[in-house]
């Protein structure tokens, strides 16, 4: 192969893919900028310094010291990455009935209402929230181990409240429900991980595409491209029946369309019918205002 041909091959190749290469170059620059921005962001200190550093309050004493420490470590790691506060409170106290209302000053005798108030007040009074002490980003799980009133409430705030739908709240609570009676540590670790997973999706941690798509889409696209370009279009016959007819059309000398007979057939028509359903998957699940006036979301599961 002569040098001229090789030169022409290279020229054609780069000319053909020029926009692709330029696009990749631009994306590389944007990726580099995004990488720098990301490194800077993860090293920025949390804005809200008024909240306590403690995240795990095991008043019910269902966790060992080692388990508590492990949870604190995991929460700290998620908080740094997702920039949300994650708080866990276990307690063992009646929150239902007139006696509990009088004794602890709840505003109602209802279990669910009081669990919600307990969680909201704990959050608001401690000024939790990664970015600010009022309506800041984060969530709190309070788990009541009082006999006959066992159950938990998840209260969300700020970005977490905006992101969590009823389904997301249920997902977190079910993750806790699965293990709370056999292994509380595992149940609370599931709480932290489920919140991290849902908020990670919000931040695009799993990315715009799934890992499978990153490998499969280019292969499929390349195959389609190859097949499309391999397709050869042979020349078509562009003559018609009248191409060689003088004047472009025949001379009609005679024509007839005479009715001969007819017949009719009949059949019975069969009929059928069908219906449909709905879903609940948008953010802002369980939205309400706490006694301190802060906006919260959330939900409870009683066992």
């Amino acid at each position: 192969m002569s040098d001229d041909i090789k030169k022409e091959i290279r020229k054609q190749y780069f000319h053909y893919f020029r926009f692709w290469f330029i696009g990749i170059g631009i994306l590389l620059v944007i990726t580099a900028i995004a990488g720098v921005k990301h490194v800077i962001e993860i090293n920025v200190p949390r804005p809200n310094l008024s909240a306590p550093t403690e995240r795990v309050y095991d008043y019910a004493d269902v966790l060992t010291d080692v388990e508590e420490e492990s949870l604190r470590k995991r929460i700290a790691e998620v908080e740094r990455r997702l920039r949300i506060d994650i708080v866990l409170v276990t307690f063992n106290q009646s929150v239902e009935g007139e006696e509990a209302r009088r004794q602890y000053g709840y505003r109602s005798a209802d279990w669910e209402q009081n669990m919600m108030d307990y969680a909201d007040d704990f959050w608001d009074e401690n000024q939790y929230g990664y970015n600010k002490g009022f309506e800041g980003d984060g969530c709190i799980l309070v788990h009541n181990w009082f006999e006959g009133q066992n159950g938990e409430h998840l209260s969300t705030s700020g970005r977490v409240e905006d992101r969590f739908s009823y389904n997301d709240i249920d997902t977190v609570l079910y993750a806790v429900d699965d293990y709370y009676d056999t292994d509380p540590y595992r149940a609370y670790m599931a709480y932290v991980d489920t919140v991290a997973s849902i908020m990670g999706r919000e931040r695009g941690e799993s990315g715009t595409f799934s890992l499978g798509a990153v490998f499969v889409v280019p292969i499929v696209a390349a195959l389609v491209y190859a097949l499309f370009n391999l397709k050869q279009k042979p020349a078509k016959d562009t003559t018609t029946a009248s191409t060689y007819v003088e004047g472009g059309k025949p001379v009609m000398k005679g024509r007839a369309d005479e009715f001969i007979r007819k017949n009719v057939v009949s059949r019975k028509i069969e009929t059928s019918s069908s219906g449909g359903g709905g879903s609940r998957s948008s953010g802002g699940g369980g939205h309400h205002i706490s006694s301190s006036g802060a906006s919260h979301g959330g939900g409870s599961h009683r066992h």
């Binding site: 280019p218 009248s242 007979r261």
Partner: protein, 330 residues
């Protein structure tokens, strides 16, 4: 015969762009003077004495040594005198551009497929054709059905009406072209049609100067079956097209009666580009009048792998980068 310039003595050729005889040496138009070649071997150039590759049916060619175009009198006169000719309407440059335009998006063609050097090897040929004309009377008689359907309550009714269908028409077929060259593939010659007969002229040898040519290789009676098949197919289709409004039409009885017929000999202009790739020939034919192209380019396997692989690589890189950007920027 050879056409020389009265002004400079150069070889005058027919210019498709100028629609006239043209001297490429002194740019004179209509300065041609015919010089008949006197006796001697036709395989020897009368101008330079060089040996010319002349095959059995060659009627016009170019001397490979002095580049002069010559036409062999005895192969364009007498029994071999064409009655009509469609002169070249597209010059070589227009033809090259036509090929480039058609195949520019064919990514996997070899790199030099549309190179200037390769395309420059293209040659203009006058291909011998027989033109058949048939004055016919065509009839059809058969049965057609019309279907009507309606609903009443929970019953569906379908009514089928039967009709006697009759058509009688005269069809005057003019100039159905059939090539009379053994070298030219029949399927390609069928596809290269149609031609605009309005530009057809009475034969003059001047039109052949500057091109290659052949006399007919096959007589009219040998190739007429192709024209008759064509005529029969078209007649049946025209009969069928005249019948409308029916859900079904039976094959019925169809007759095509030829009242009179005629065959005329003529020449059709064709550009031929013979591309060689990996030891195999890939011929391309371009209608020298309409520019219609017949031929399929070869595929370079290296290009298929290289380009497809590059596209795959680019897409994978782009998706990975977008993934990183979406994770880091949000």
């Amino acid at each position: 015969m050879i056409f020389v310039c009265k002004n400079c003595g150069g070889n005058v050729v027919y210019s498709p762009e100028k629609h006239s005889m043209f001297c490429p040496y002194c740019d004179s138009v209509k300065s041609d003077e015919r010089r008949d070649l006197s006796g001697g071997e036709i395989s020897v150039c009368p101008n330079c004495g060089g040996e010319i590759p002349v095959e059995e049916h060659t009627s016009a060619t170019q001397c490979p040594y002095c580049d002069n175009y010559m036409i062999f009198n005895e192969r364009v006169e007498g029994a071999y005198a064409p009655k009509k000719i469609i002169p070249f309407q597209m010059g070589k440059e227009a033809c090259k551009n036509s090929l480039r335009e058609k195949f520019k998006k064919f990514t996997f063609a070899p790199t030099d497929f549309l190179s200037e050097a390769r395309l420059d090897s293209m040659q203009g040929h006058y291909v011998p054709f027989w033109f058949y004309s048939y004055d016919t009377s065509c009839r059809y008689e058969g049965e057609g059905t019309k279907v009507r359907s309606w609903r009443s309550g929970n019953m569906q009714y379908t009514e089928t009406s039967y009709y006697r269908v009759y058509r009688d028409m005269d069809i005057d077929f003019q100039n159905i072209p059939v090539d009379a060259s053994v070298q030219m593939p029949d399927d390609v010659m069928d596809l290269i049609a149609p031609f605009h007969y309005g530009q057809m002229e009475s034969f003059k040898p001047e039109f052949m100067s500057g091109f290659y040519g052949e006399k007919y290789n096959m007589t009219s009676d040998i190739v007429e079956f192709r024209a008759k098949n064509h005529m029969q197919e078209d007649a049946h289709k025209l009969l069928k097209d005249s019948i409308s409004g029916y859900a079904t039409v039976s094959p019925g009885r169809r007759e095509v009666h030829v009242k009179s017929s005629e065959a005329e000999y003529g020449l059709i202009p064709l550009w031929k580009y013979n591309y060689q790739y990996n030891g195999k020939a890939y011929p391309f034919y371009v209608n020298g009048q309409t520019g219609k192209i017949v031929g399929i380019p070869p595929i370079s396997k290296k290009k298929v792998w290289g380009y497809t692989g590059t596209l795959w690589g680019c897409l994978t890189i782009i998706m990975i980068l977008l993934q990183l950007i979406s994770v880091w920027m949000l």
